[in-house]
């Protein structure tokens, strides 16, 4: 939690992937907060994050749909959203859902961090 100012909200239903993501991001100094269900996420109990990391395909909920919805919301549209998927067509879904970026699984740690950093910086500038 060294860079407490930058908070990343991660919605990922695979525990191993979530764990490694958390480690990678926390070691870079980001504050990582995992959400396990859609309702909690929508409520943003701790306020809007600096970056939202959404898996597209999660049991019970669809990251793509949620992304599209948030990008339409008056308040939420400014939140940078990275969609993530193990499926090839994830990139297209991400594009169509208006996501800011797409991370294909399995991802390269350096690519992931570069993408995250780019969108955080973009968000900081705006």
């Amino acid at each position: 939690m060294t860079r407490g100012t930058q908070r990343i909200l991660v919605a990922e239903d695979d525990q191993v992937v979530l764990d490694v993501l958390r480690l990678i991001l926390e070691e870079e100094g980001y504050a990582v907060e995992a959400v396990a269900d859609e309702a909690t996420l929508r409520a943003f109990p701790h306020g809007y994050p600096d970056l939202l990391f959404l898996d597209i395909w999660m049991s019970g909920w669809d990251g793509g749909d949620l992304c599209r919805e948030l990008k339409c919301g008056e308040e939420t549209r400014e939140i940078p959203i990275l969609l993530c998927s193990a499926n090839r067509d994830g990139e297209r879904i991400a594009r169509e859902a208006g996501a800011d970026g797409f991370i294909a699984k399995p991802f390269d740690m350096d690519d992931l961090l570069a993408t995250v950093a780019r969108h955080l910086h973009a968000q900081a500038r705006s």
Partner: protein, 820 residues
């Protein structure tokens, strides 16, 4: 000469019936004293038969009526003389012996057409005459024979006429027995000469085909030199007897050649051969056409007698019949020859038989048909080797249709049979056996034609099989005409669409097209009219109950025998289930991809994280080991990706999402990504003016990535890979060139096959599933494009793929950038 005692019927018929009831009165007729006797005498003298009364054993003429006198020679003195004295020439002719017998026995004698030679004129020349006669014994009251009543009728003319007729028939028969016309004419002339018996030399000339000349026919007794001289004389108004007769078409009687002007040109010739008179008569056919002339020559000046004229009539009539019959025979033979020639030329097997079915003729087609040379006169009923019924059971030859036709005397129509040749091949055929009858209606033979219907049968069987296939097909098979009216409708169509054939045939095909897809039909019909096929066109159709179903349509033009397009056949497959299955597979593969990549994500994440920690902790060696692990994970990921793509390609669920993108930017981006995977190689690009393609960017990206991956992988010694784009007419070609190990020529054709890997020693150490190029090729094909390879072993490989420009938009804005 027969004695026909008491045969009154015969007597009546031959006209020599004696007035039996007056025999007694006649005995004393010669006296002529009483009134009754006078009356009888008058009757006797005027009787229409020859009557004479002979007396005593010497047969003295007591009385002879005028007809009798006329018959034996009117000028003779016979009354009171014995027969022997009165008619001395009859000695040795048997007449006297007969009279003696009648006188001696008292039994009458009946003579029938008995020839007697009489010297009527006292010149010593005997003339033959024929008589029907009766010698009746004249008996006194005591029953003693006193004399003989002779009652006779001269039947010479009838006998001669009949004999001539018989002669004529005999001569005419010669023709039917195959005697040549020349021989028959010769025989005729000799017969006339024999009948004439007065030194006559006959000559028969035939009119030439040109109608202007006479040709030698028969003249057996004229000198050969004379015959040769007149052969071919031209007919004309002054051309001797024959030439003139032929010219005038009337008899020319030259009684004295020496003085007749008609003979002016031939007088010397005739005189040279001592010919003094010549009577020529034209010979006409039944229809009045001139056939030739018949002439009688004598070595003396002479005019024809009645008998001569009769003979001439006989000769010309017989000759006419002879010539006409010969010509008819010839015509018949010619006609038969032509008939056989015609039969022989016909392509159908034809043969004829006699009434017992034995072969009399067969044509070459029959030999080809039966596969053997039939034996004339031996083979019976059919030319074939073996026969069987359509159901395959053997058919004995004597039960074949021809046998039935001949035995039952009827034409057999519509039968079918199978003939087996000696070589075992079979012919399915229809026979047309017909009995042949003579004028009286008797069967004299038969003719049969065997028509090979094997092809038709095979076609029928094929058609029936095809019809059964169509009928039993699960797919809807429908045909329609060019205006879209349904012509046929199979069970599959009924099952899929719910309409029965009765509902559908005659209705427009639009009845199964949902309203929002009605515009498809005119386009389909347009393509069919152009002769194009519509293949696997996936669309939606409507059932009778209104529900919609997914179908795959294949529509082909139907052409008639002349090649004209007359309609379309349409196979519709219900793909509703297939669609559902495809969605399931797609879903499954999506899950599989997710489930495979998710653990890899974890592994890779931890690996990289661990590597970074070790690196930061200064354990560079361990970090590098983890780096190697990381690259193996990438390889694993690549293999998973390829396998999933192949699975999708194989199950037909590969999603294909074309969208516009700019080619050059796309190439540069992909190259930059791939550049990061190699440190040894520099990937250069040489790009033509850019275009905006409409294609599935991800898939084309995979293609290019695969090609670049291979280029790098298979050129470990090189340091360069080149990517180029070029325009080629309606296509854009993207090529990837390496300078590596190359591919042997014979292996190049298999490169795009699934699981294909080029083997060989130089390949050892290059791992892979052999899926990359297959996947690339499939992706390219999905874009309606081509992929091909050029390679030299040891020099490198260039793989090119084209992308069609239809669906591509030339984009001028990028020109400058692309050219850079």
């Amino acid at each position: 000469m027969t004695i026909q005692q008491g045969d009154t019927r015969l007597l009546t018929s031959n006209g020599a019936t004696p007035p039996d009831d007056r025999v007694d009165d006649l005995r004393s007729l010669a006296g002529g004293e009483t009134g009754e006797r006078k009356r009888l005498h008058d009757l006797f003298m005027q009787a229409p038969a020859m009557i004479a009364i002979l007396r005593g054993p010497q047969h003295l003429f007591e009385l002879a009526n005028p007809l009798y006198m006329q018959a034996v020679g009117a000028g003779r003195e016979i009354i009171g003389k014995s027969v022997r004295e009165a008619l001395p020439e009859i000695r040795g002719q048997g007449v006297l012996e007969l009279l003696d017998a009648v006188y001696r026995t008292g039994e009458p004698y009946f003579g029938d057409e008995t020839p007697v030679h009489l010297d009527r004129k006292g010149t010593g020349r005997l003339e033959e005459a024929f008589f029907n006669f009766v010698y009746l014994p004249d008996k006194d009251a005591a029953g003693e024979t006193q004399g003989i009543l002779v009652h006779a009728v001269d039947v010479t003319d009838q006998v001669r006429a009949r004999r001539r007729l018989e002669e004529q028939n005999r001569i005419l028969e010669m023709i039917t027995q195959g005697v040549s016309l020349a021989d028959a004419l010769d025989f005729l002339v000799r017969s006339i000469e024999r009948q004439s018996a007065n030194g006559m030399k006959g000559s028969l000339l035939l009119l030439d085909r040109d109608g202007k000349h006479l040709r030698h026919g028969a003249a057996p007794c004229l000198p050969a030199a004379y015959n040769a001289a007149i052969d071919g004389i031209a007919i004309g108004p002054n051309a001797g007897s024959c030439g003139t007769a032929a010219y005038t078409k009337a008899p020319v009687i030259v009684a004295d050649i020496a003085s007749d002007p008609l003979w002016a040109d031939f007088r010397d010739l005739a005189s040279e051969h001592d010919l003094r008179s010549c009577w020529s008569t034209p010979i006409f056919s039944a229809t009045g056409d001139l056939l030739g002339t018949f002439a009688m020559y004598y070595n003396e000046p002479r005019s024809p007698s009645e008998a001569d004229r009769n003979l001439i009539v006989f000769a010309t009539r017989t000759a006419a019949l002879l010539i006409e019959r010969t010509r008819a025979e010839e015509a018949m033979r010619e006609s038969e020859r032509r008939f056989r020639a015609m039969i022989d030329a016909l392509p159908a097997a034809i043969y004829t038989t006699d009434a017992e079915g034995r072969l009399t003729h067969f044509n070459p087609a029959a030999v080809a048909f039966s596969g053997r040379v039939p034996e004339l006169g031996t083979d019976q009923w059919c030319v074939t080797w073996k026969l069987s019924y359509p159901d395959g059971t053997p058919m004995p030859h004597d039960e074949c249709p021809m046998a039935i036709a001949l035995k039952e005397g009827r034409i057999i129509a519509g039968a079918e049979a199978i003939a087996e040749r000696p070589d075992g091949t079979r012919v399915w055929f229809t026979p047309f056996p017909t009995p042949l009858r003579d004028a009286a209606g008797r069967i004299v033979g038969g003719i049969n034609m065997l028509v090979d219907i094997t092809e038709r049968k095979q076609a029928e069987e094929a058609r029936a099989r095809l019809a059964a296939i169509v009928e039993s097909s699960d797919d809807a098979i429908v045909s329609k005409d060019l205006s879209g009216i349904i012509q046929t409708w199979n069970k599959g169509a009924e099952r899929i669409f719910g309409y029965t054939p009765e509902d559908a045939v005659g209705q427009p095909i639009t009845m199964i097209i949902p309203p929002d897809r009605l515009d498809e039909e005119p386009e389909i019909l347009r393509r069919i009219r152009c002769g194009e096929r519509v293949d696997h066109f996936e669309t939606v159709r409507r059932r009778k109950d209104g529900t919609l179903l997914d179908i795959s349509l294949t529509i082909s033009p139907v052409v008639d025998s002349r090649g004209a397009i007359v309609g379309a056949s349409k196979i519709a497959r219900d793909i509703t289930e297939r669609r559902a299955l495809e969605r399931q597979k797609d879903q499954f593969l999506g899950i599989a991809a997710h489930e495979l990549r998710t653990p890899v994500t974890g592994i890779k994440g931890y690996t990289q994280l661990l590597a970074r920690r070790l690196h930061r902790a200064g354990d560079t060696a361990s970090a590098e080991m983890l780096g190697k692990l990381d690259r193996q994970i990438d390889r694993l990921t690549g293999l998973i990706d390829d396998l999933l793509d192949v699975a999708r390609i194989e199950s037909g669920v590969l999603p294909f999402r074309p969208a516009p993108f700019e080619l050059n930017a796309f190439v540069r981006e992909t190259v930059e990504e791939m550049q990061q995977t190699t440190e040894r190689h520099t990937i250069a690009w040489e790009l033509a003016e850019s275009v905006t393609l409409v294609a599935d960017r991800d898939r084309i990206g995979q293609v290019l990535t695969n090609l670049l991956g291979n280029a790098i992988k298979y050129s470990p010694q090189a340091d360069r890979v080149v990517v180029r784009t070029t325009r080629d007419g309606e296509n854009v070609i993207v090529s990837v060139q390496d300078f590596g190990i190359g591919i042997p020529r014979e292996k190049q054709a298999h490169l795009f096959e699934r699981f294909y890997r080029v083997d060989g020693e130089s390949r050892a150490g290059f791992s892979g599933l052999g899926l990359g190029l297959y996947v690339a090729a499939e992706f390219v094909k999905r874009h309606g494009a081509a992929i091909w390879v050029e390679s030299e072993e040891g020099e490198g490989t260039t793989v090119r793929f084209s992308l069609p420009l239809n669906g591509l938009h030339g984009d001028k804005e990028h020109e400058v950038e692309g050219a850079a």
